[in-house]
Symmetry: C2
Subunit: 310 residues, 2 copies
């Protein structure tokens, strides 16, 4: 398959190198010039669990330099950069490639649908992880899996082929029964852990040690449940709470600072508008008040301002 | 007049020394042993605007050591310590002294009414300020005023005498027309500035420079207005917003960190339950939702926990 990875950060690079090693023809596309140049000149360096560096020559380009056509475009840009990336790539979407998004946050599918016919869009969630260590360099640990579903399943018969292509690269892909529910489930977890850990400048274990973590958790998830219900999306606040509580274990993710905390610390814009902010907006549109998520969104934006972000 | 200052911190000491200098017989009462001992042994040191230290011998006692009776008890304890202080002083309240509270926060009058007949209670607000520099030592700047009113005006004919006693000490006291409205006005200002500056670890000017400060402000004050209306208390959110915006000026209070920020920094419990928390609770009781103030209360309590407070 000819595959473009649009947004070749930590995750995009990990997927890209695995797909190329499986025999696919992969192009990494990113707006970060230093990163693209480093890959062009020295290949992509992947540091694995055992501390070994593996260097793989790969094709890397800025969006403006991409002219060829692809069978599959995997979008790994951050939610707030997705619209811009799709605009930049509009010239190469005329052959109607499959467009797959595995990015965090709610609302990505709506963004993609503004640029791509709905029946070419596949959405999913993944628990693969990766860190961008520097230009042309990622560090990876553990394994993961992907769960994915076409947005219009009855009009998309390529899912088995897509899953096979991903699994040739050992990406552990499988069909999802309700991908929107899966996206909401993950977004709700992030809307609790990412948001509060960023606000309090604490890690996941410290959040879990708060005497009032359940009150904070429930204030967010009760509104998620009400808005999801109005939007006809399956959502189980109790199940999400169990999943969140399972992260507190110091042997699991307790010592981890969520990605939003890392964004704030590195003075990058956060994804808050695609987590709590999305639910607050959707709630407003549907007449379901979500004041807790609205306030949390404002509080994170205030912190961004105080740190001079954007 | 025989006057007890119950809670002789920064403000209590400033009032105490001014009242004693005017010829009143003043006893400072406080639970902080080092502070009481320092005053007993070396007098109270007041550093004034001009950098000069003024030492005044004063009577200072722990609550348990107070046995005499007073004409006037001025309560200057923090809101969350008021109930305990009144319990400790219950033995000396049998002569029905006037009990005056000028402390910040809503709900102090309710606390006092559990210990003192309603018709002996006078409440007010003050813009005098003072800092506790160390045991037996305060630093004062500028002047101020007091606005006060009896809780049951028709059963209290001593207001002119009380005002005269305070003004003999140049405290600029005058009768308030609606002291409950004045308390809410000040509490609302504190529920915006103290709470957000503490949450964001910023000063008043930095809060005012946030592009979304009005959204944050309005989220708090809209609920204050709704709860005040249900409780039949006069409250004007627009006037409060104007008052808040006036604090941003760097030549006024812009560079100032509010008292709650100082409490958090010094690992002392905050007054949040008597600001946003009071309105959230009262709203709950009256069936008027106040989710923003409820969440902000929880967020400040979380920060207290993370700093090991209480």
């Amino acid at each position: 398959m000819k595959i473009a990875i649009a947004g070749a950060g930590a995750m995009g690079c990990r997927f890209g190198v695995k797909l190329q090693n499986a025999g696919h023809q992969v192009t990494l596309i990113d707006n970060w010039q230093d990163h693209v140049t480093a890959i062009q000149e020295h290949g992509l360096t992947v540091t694995t669990d055992d501390g070994q560096d593996h260097i793989t020559p790969m094709t890397a380009k800025r969006p403006a330099d991409v002219t060829e056509r692809f069978d599959l475009v995997i979008l790994f840009t951050k939610a707030m950069q997705m619209d811009q990336m799709l605009q930049q790539l509009s010239g190469i979407l005329d052959n109607q490639p499959i467009v797959l998004t595995l990015a965090n946050g709610i609302g990505n599918v709506e963004t993609i649908e503004r640029h791509v016919p709905k029946d070419r869009v596949v959405a999913g969630t993944t628990v693969w992880s990766s860190s961008l260590t520097g230009p042309g360099h990622i560090t990876v640990t553990g394994t993961g899996s992907i769960s994915l579903q076409a947005i219009v399943p009855e009009k998309f018969d390529e899912l088995p082929a897509l899953i096979a292509a991903l699994n040739a690269a050992h990406l552990n892909a499988s069909p999802a029964e309700n991908v929107l529910a899966a996206i909401w489930k993950k977004a709700a977890l992030n809307s609790v852990l990412n948001t509060y850990c960023t606000l309090f400048d604490c890690n996941i274990g410290e959040f879990g040690s708060l005497p009032n973590w359940r009150t904070l958790n429930d204030a967010v998830l009760t509104e998620f449940a009400a808005v999801a219900k109005a939007a006809h999306i399956q959502f189980d606040a109790a199940a999400d709470t169990t999943l969140i509580a399972a992260q507190f274990d110091p042997d699991k993710n307790g010592g981890h600072y969520p990605s939003m905390h890392q964004d704030m610390a590195k003075k990058r814009p956060t994804e808050i508008d695609f987590l709590n902010g999305y639910v607050a907006q959707l709630g407003k549109k549907l007449g379901v008040p979500a004041p807790t998520n609205a306030l949390l969104t404002q509080l994170i934006h205030s912190q961004e301002s105080l740190r001079g972000i954007k």
